[in-house]
Symmetry: C2
Subunit: 593 residues, 2 copies
């Protein structure tokens, strides 16, 4: 009995038809000798009815079925009586009266309910992922993911992009995150690495004249995981030759507009706001600002540097800064509520958190007395402070101030309900610094990656002050998440060599690691650039989930384990012998979510 229809798609149009359905028992009710079963497949649920008047035999067999049994049934679609119509069910106007049934498979009672919104330990869901994925919200998310991939591909195909697969077994490069390694059997003592991104290969494809490349590519990073990280993740990987940064950004905006329209039915306005890295950090304390609300940070260093607040004055003197944000209407917070912000700020490095309430027509709080009237007036003006506001101050290095106030801004904005959760606010962050100083390693590291093209007018800084160089790099942010990042690439050997030198590579090291790329640059490399979009994260935001694991069919836990198959696992010693490796240390580690 092979299905002729999908459960969820039956309606009044099929009344009178004989249909065959295949699906799972969602629930069953026995009402005085008549058996009602909600039968579920990927498309939805339909009520099927067994009664002696349709088929006594079918009723008898149907009666043996339990939740999650797999059934094949044949029956007639009939209209329900007006009083039994179920308005909550897409198929609620009809039911199917069953004349034949085959139980295709039985089922034990599942460890959790196959329905949306269950609140159970995620470990249990992951162990029984094949049951978890039966739940409609998981099926919807995976279908949205499939649809999103299709939209990306169709758009890029239409723009003459060619989909090209790059290797998964590649070469280990020490720059960047930790590599996953794969021992080689044929070459004892040598290893492949799983790619952190197809970066070098996509650049080589540009050298090879493919002009427009894309790939929905699996990438790997052996990093300690957070809620929004997975050891293997997927990116929409794009690279083009002969396009300006502006052309690429516009094209990506059209792509995102199409994605939003076709998946969640939202029209977004183009072009996206462009904000420089300096502005993003300055105003929002973040290079991935959530622009769904304002509440900008204000630099008050100039106002407070001469004030009686010693710590402010000394921070400014040491080259740090003092910034503040205005929590509108929060002057009414209790002392405890305000004090509770301290430990939160401390997580981001704050040594303290000063505050001023604008209340009962005056400024109140422990630090008020250290300010002159003039200083106070300037602060009020700078911070647009009005009756009822709470002003929060952070004084520290630029980085810590940004972290502290940026995170306070998000926390308070969320608590005050300033964020429209149904809004999708995209922006480009541009003009990133090319290099950042690594205090531990005492050297510069690439902010984006070592192949990012510096701004023409900043190249001369390589010789004098590399930290000043701005990159032709751009991040796409959505609601406070980085959902894409890219850059124009270096395509001239001498510039690439300058970059490697700035990163502390000797010419020999640069050659050892990237010699083939440097050599490629000598054979007619076109100007090129590209971007990688975080596919998992985009799907997460589009489907309104808050965890990447909800968007991946078979995700791994924070301890990088698959609770379903129990990978990783011990292997046979013969396998290790063949790979010419030995285990140096065994240890049972935590495998939880």
């Amino acid at each position: 009995m092979l299905k002729t229809h999908h459960c969820g798609q039956l309606g009044t149009a099929e009344i009178g038809q004989t249909v065959v359905l295949n699906g799972w028992v969602q629930r069953r009710r026995d009402l005085g000798g008549v058996l009602f079963i909600d039968l579920r497949d990927r498309s939805g649920i339909v009520q099927i009815v067994f009664g002696p008047e349709y088929s006594g035999e079918a009723l008898q067999i149907g009666d043996r079925s339990r939740n999650e049994y797999v059934l094949a049934v044949k029956g007639t679609v009939v209209e329900r009586d007006a009083e039994t119509v179920n308005a909550n069910l897409a198929t609620g106007q009809i039911e199917v009266r069953i004349t034949e049934i085959e139980i295709l498979n039985s089922a034990k009672n599942p460890p959790f309910f196959i329905e949306d919104g269950i609140e159970i330990d995620e470990s249990l869901r992951l162990k029984y992922r094949y049951l978890d994925l039966r739940r409609p919200e998981m099926q919807r998310t995976l279908m949205l993911r499939s649809q999103a991939a299709k939209i990306f591909r169709n758009f890029l195909d239409d723009q003459s992009f060619i989909e090209i697969e790059t290797p998964i077994l590649t070469k280990s490069t020490p720059e960047g995150a930790r590599d996953y390694l794969v021992p080689s059997r044929v070459h004892p003592g040598e290893f492949f690495a799983l790619p952190q991104s197809p970066q070098i290969f996509k650049q080589l494809l540009m050298v090879s004249g493919m002009e427009r490349y894309y790939q929905i590519a699996r990438c790997f990073r052996d990093e300690d995981l957070r809620a929004d990280r997975q050891p293997e993740f997927t990116q929409v990987d794009i690279e083009t030759s002969f396009m300006s940064q502006e052309q690429l950004l516009s094209m990506m905006e059209e792509l995102m507009a199409k994605l939003m329209k076709e998946t969640v039915g939202v029209d977004i306005s183009l072009p996206f706001q462009r904000i420089t890295y300096a502005d993003a950090m300055g105003k929002y304390g973040s290079d991935k600002p959530d622009l769904r609300f304002g509440m900008e940070l204000k630099d008050v260093s100039d106002i407070v540097s001469q004030s009686g607040v010693k710590v402010f004055a000394s921070v400014v003197e040491k080259g740090g800064q003092v910034k503040a944000l205005n929590a509108k209407g929060c002057a009414s917070w209790s002392r405890k509520e305000i004090d509770d912000l301290g430990p939160f700020a401390a997580r981001y490095g704050a040594k303290g958190l000063a505050w001023i309430q604008v209340k009962d027509g005056e400024m109140k709080g422990p630090i008020v007395k250290f300010f002159s009237e003039e200083e106070m007036a300037s602060l009020k003006e700078r911070l647009d402070a009005e009756e009822g506001d709470l002003l929060l101050f952070s004084a520290d290095t630029k980085k810590i101030v940004a972290d502290v106030l940026g995170n306070l801004r998000l926390k308070i904005g969320r608590e005050l309900g300033l964020i429209n959760e149904s809004e999708f606010k995209y922006a480009w962050v541009v003009d990133f610094p090319l290099l950042g100083w690594d205090e531990d390693a005492k050297r510069y590291v690439a902010e984006h990656h070592p192949f990012t093209r510096p701004m023409e007018e900043d190249v001369h800084f390589f010789d004098t002050d590399p930290g000043q160089i701005r990159a032709q790099a751009y991040d796409l942010v959505l609601n406070g998440y980085e959902v894409g990042g890219g850059s124009q690439r270096i395509y001239q050997r001498d510039v690439q060599e300058k970059m490697f030198t700035a990163l502390g590579f000797s010419p020999e090291e640069a050659n050892e690691q990237f010699g083939f790329l440097l050599e490629a640059f000598e054979y007619g490399t076109p100007p090129h650039g590209g971007i990688a979009l975080g596919f998992d994260r985009l799907v997460m935001l589009l489907s309104g989930r808050s965890n990447l694991r909800e968007t991946i069919a078979f995700p791994k836990t924070a301890s990088a384990t698959d609770l379903l198959s129990n990978a990783p696992s011990e292997v046979e010693s013969k396998q290790l012998e063949q790979l010419s490796i030995r285990i140096a240390r065994k240890e049972k580690a935590d495998r939880s979510v």
Copy 2:
């Protein structure tokens, strides 16, 4: 100067227009102060002209360019004089007179010509793959590959398949080929394995009710490589629930018809021929027969078993067989030509190769005298032997006879020009045996894989003669290549357990390896089945190439190395420490193609 047009797409329609082109210098000719350059991009080639009358400055700069320089040029499209029209060039009716030029990048002289049909060492092509991929035939192949992926996806999307990504970091399973392993940093002493196929995950997706799944999936096998193997390869991976084998096969036929039509413009007739495994082995000595020509093998055991040819009689007595094929018109071959078949046959295990010429109205050859007239007449009739034919005999075990004559058939068929190289002949091979006896391991092994469903009517043989069980398995063959393979899957725990027992697994071992799958079978698993199509091989056959490496952007050599990046390579000892492994043995191994 950003391109307004593609080089290869300019034609008479653009005459008079000012265009900007970006591309590579294919070649240059200086004809009395006028410079002609063939400018190449992905779309093709166009002739651009520099002369003092268009722009002296442009001529001067253009003159500095050499082969493979990257240029941006602006100029006017003009019609060529009748006598200078180049009929061999798609753009041969026009040329572009250049008024502005920028040399975007210079190029050293490449190590081989950037053109089709070059005959150079493949190692050099792989080392400079970024130049090799500039050659039009490589670009065409990669574009065809991209187009084929799109056709597969569109077809499957239209049939309500959902694209779902399955993990690359999975669990090692000892059944099947050798796994690539990935040491876990978080779990010292444990390993992930790269998937040989998404088999278990796609079955779990069926358990989860996704009903129709597909993925163009990267798979990995650490096997010794041949010309048509790569350590990482791509398959179009498909799984469905609630479909019969026949429904799936028909759907795949439509898919292949669409693929053929849209990529190479060939109409193929449906349905494909279905041939049982027994027939394929019997008639063609192969489970992936090339059906573009006949020349079937004939069993003559009954005729020769009583003959005076001792070796024939004794082979039949020992349970072996004697088969023959008729090489039509080859009686004229010299004795040396015939003798040369011996070493060829020996490669496939033949201890000798007997033959009879039908020549000058009689049967000739060393063994003729051992046959009675009756036997000879029977042979002639069975083999349809006529004047001019050469009959070749192999006597051995069934397997060796099939190998020897199957390969002789292909060799001679090719030499006789019996194969229409432009034909695409698909067929399904069905009714495979479920299990094969492994003489070394002294146990049964799965012919397809351990999840293949036995034919209902053969299940009882598990208890008596497992070798008799036929599988609900099917291979798709094209011109002598296996381009796909699949099966209906076991979906009942008790049948799966019988299968594991037949394969020699103890219940504990089965649980250790596949416990999660066995458990999944208890929660309402639908009947399901699927197929995997060999994407690389299909692209190879569609593009008329003879080597998988020609279809992959960055392939590996037969020694599993990437000659471009030089992967695999040694890694830093710190990396190994973090992974808690040590190298047991180092050795420099051959890295060649």
